[in-house]
Symmetry: C2
Subunit: 440 residues, 2 copies
């Protein structure tokens, strides 16, 4: 809590964080109307100044081409007028959401007249470290401002010019609004040391959200001294129970795997109950092949189709993000649960079954952010789940688990109101409060 | 999420953690009745076997005396029959609380028929690192078991024999119940290396709660790679506004400071609006002196009383936990807020005022876990706030802020139920979901 005076940092990271922290103070108590007006101004400016954003984007794309970056990187990087219109529309949709700040999440008046309330307040300063996909820049800024937080944006060097242009446009728009301009900051520096400075900026950064590959997330989780919200590593499973409707199972499997294989909520592993394997697997393996999916199977799966590639230990743990899936036959629902417990990433697992008892046992035993019954894993998305825009899927258990929507970007403040309430000499209520601890 | 196979650890810490993780699996889905029956058995056993616990405690007390430990340490350490009866009563009170596990915290059926529910589930394995106060051992065990979590207890070496006896009694009682015995584990080893092993046991420890001095908490926060919940550093302020009722202000101040100075929710700093200083301070300083409190004041406070000790920069940031208080005169409510923002620990700040506008401004601008209006800071305690037994006061913003009661020892699981729901080719809802990120 105590303000940290920024010691000079090599690239100015701590100075940017300190400016964000100063901006966060007035931002935290702005009205919803003021924040929404600022977001509308940002959306207007993105459209009005699309030319300079696209010009910057062309420079990034040309540099990436010259550097021989793969087509997948270029795909993410490229923007056009329609892309900017989409970003502006998202900013307006965030503006239209209810303001999470100030919401009362608990209230009670005790017999002694003490009024106890808990209200939602912003976290303060949120830092994002993410990949070279420019729409993430505006989306993250919009969600943080809406929830009353200042934001530090640290994108990829591959999108440096585009991100700089976007942030210049956003800050330009904020200059005419009640939101302080410094509430949106680009983190200077593209090398690893700037990430390190963010990770250890205790007192300046209230939450760090890394978005990207396993390597980045592991580095951040292991090295950070500021609070971290892990997102999105998804080794998602589809389990076809003995009581599944085979046609529904095939439809859910194909949608989970093949509708968009590059997403964190795409299925990466198929588990089939032995009693339904003869019925289900021949058609399923043919349909996966038809959809261009390579199956990495155990010996029992391989017995059904010669195109199956033998699965290795690495396959069971893999998040392919590609048209590949691992597959195994299991002898029971409990064996499926044990497999998921061993190899899963805690993101999403789906069971297909007509048995209410099997569905109940699976949802009870599987310890993941989301458990789905007769639903494609692809539904695990804040919008599809009716929770509004989100910044990712949390696969950790503390603070937020599942979609990280506006409420998850806030914290709580208790407000006690009395009329001179003082405590008597009576012993404290039971528990480990610091009273019990400190004695006296 | 993936299970971590414990590499052999020097003192067996990881083996204990792995045993706790195995026990956490069946514990997570036990009924409330089964957990409550186990807690009643624990309470019975504590009373029935009080003799061996007290004998062990005498050994610890004698060793502490021989080592020349200060009286405050001995005070915390000593147990007697009444103390054990109190611990058993607390365990029964925890059993009587409602089961937090399984509670539905969100539910919605979307227009397309998708059923979305969020339910409370246990975190898994919780580790406590705490001081030499034996009742904390039983209290933490009871709260963790009630919330469906296995617990790793790492007390102080000064209480080694007592803690071992208590944990042996608890485990003995669990042997006859549905709760696995290994759900309560004493962490072997008393040196710093055992804390380090706990701090870095990713995949085995879901939440680490350090309870103790600033040094311990800083070490844990900076070195841990498992999630941490900071507790209890309280540099709490009482601000006497220009519109305060002076009698109420004096009563709230004395109670906040002197009712139990060794607790985290005791006031450590007094701020007085300049316009009420002449009215309030002479009587307040006399009353504090009368109560045995030393005032460390700024020059303006010192002008009212020759007994005031000049305050240093360290005083403003100090958590004395003793009959000392820092005191300053401020020229406005906003100056009081700025002082708190600079020096506070984010625990609790109390304003005394008759002005609704001043109360509203203070509660809005102060960024602490609890803000109190015309209430002694000593009310900040789960029991006093009507939230039930707690394991401490969180001063961090993520996961839990304020009293850490049973709900704060749980996480969420989303359950999606459909009838073969698959996603179409329509674009994803706006936001930064991994869809937006990964492209495709």
């Amino acid at each position: 809590m105590s303000e940290k005076s920024p010691t000079a940092s090599r690239g100015g990271v701590l100075e940017a964080a300190a400016a964000a922290r100063r901006a966060a103070v007035p931002l935290a108590t702005l009205s919803g109307a003021d924040k929404d007006a600022a977001l509308e101004a940002v959306a207007d400016a993105l459209l009005a100044r699309s030319g300079e954003i696209l010009q910057a984007n062309r420079r990034d794309v040309e540099a990436a081409l010259a550097a021989g970056k793969p087509e997948s990187v270029l795909d993410r990087l490229r923007m056009d007028e329609a892309g900017i219109a989409g970003v502006a529309a998202t900013v307006r949709q965030v503006a239209a959401l209810p303001d999470p700040v100030g919401e009362t999440t608990y209230s009670s008046v005790l017999p002694n007249g003490l009024d106890v309330r808990r209200i939602r307040v912003p976290l303060g300063v949120i830092a994002f470290v993410y990949e070279g996909r420019p729409n993430a820049t505006a989306d993250a800024a919009a969600l943080c401002l809406k929830s009353g937080n200042a934001v530090l944006l640290r994108g990829s060097s591959v999108a440096r010019a585009t991100d700089s242009a976007l942030i210049a446009v956003i800050r330009g728009a904020l200059a005419g609004t009640a939101v302080p301009v410094d509430a949106v900051q680009r983190v200077p520096g593209d090398d690893r040391s700037s990430v390190w400075e963010l990770m250890t900026a205790r007192g300046l950064v209230d939450l760090l959200i890394p978005r990207g590959g396993t390597g980045l997330i592991r580095t951040v989780v292991e090295g950070a001294t500021v609070p971290v919200l892990e997102t999105g590593i998804g080794n998602c499973h589809v389990y076809v129970d003995e009581d599944a409707d085979p046609a529904m199972a095939l439809s859910v499997l194909l949608n989970s795997k093949a509708q968009r294989p590059s997403t964190c909520n795409a299925a990466e592993s198929l588990l089939v109950h032995a009693k339904i394997a003869d019925t289900f697997l021949p058609a399923a393996l043919a349909a996966l092949r038809e959809a261009g999916v390579t199956v990495h199977g155990d010996a029992r799966v391989a017995g059904y189709d010669r195109a199956v590639v033998p699965a290795t230990e690495e396959d069971w743990a893999a998040e392919y993000l590609s048209p590949d899936i691992s597959a195994a036959v299991v002898d029971s629902l409990d064996d499926a649960v044990a497999h998921i417990r061993r190899y899963g990433s805690g993101h999403t697992e789906s069971v297909v079954t007509r048995s209410a008892a099997a569905a109940e046992r699976f949802t009870s035993l599987v310890d993941s952010a989301v458990v789905a019954v007769n639903v494609s894993t692809r539904y695990v998305d804040g919008g599809e789940m009716g929770l509004g825009a989100e910044v990712g899927i949390s696969t950790q258990k503390v603070h937020a688990r599942g979609p990280i929507a506006l409420a998850e970007l806030t914290t709580a403040k208790y407000v006690l109101t009395g009329d001179g309430h003082i405590r008597g000499a009576a012993p404290a209520a039971p528990g480990l409060s610091c009273d019990a601890l400190s004695g006296g």
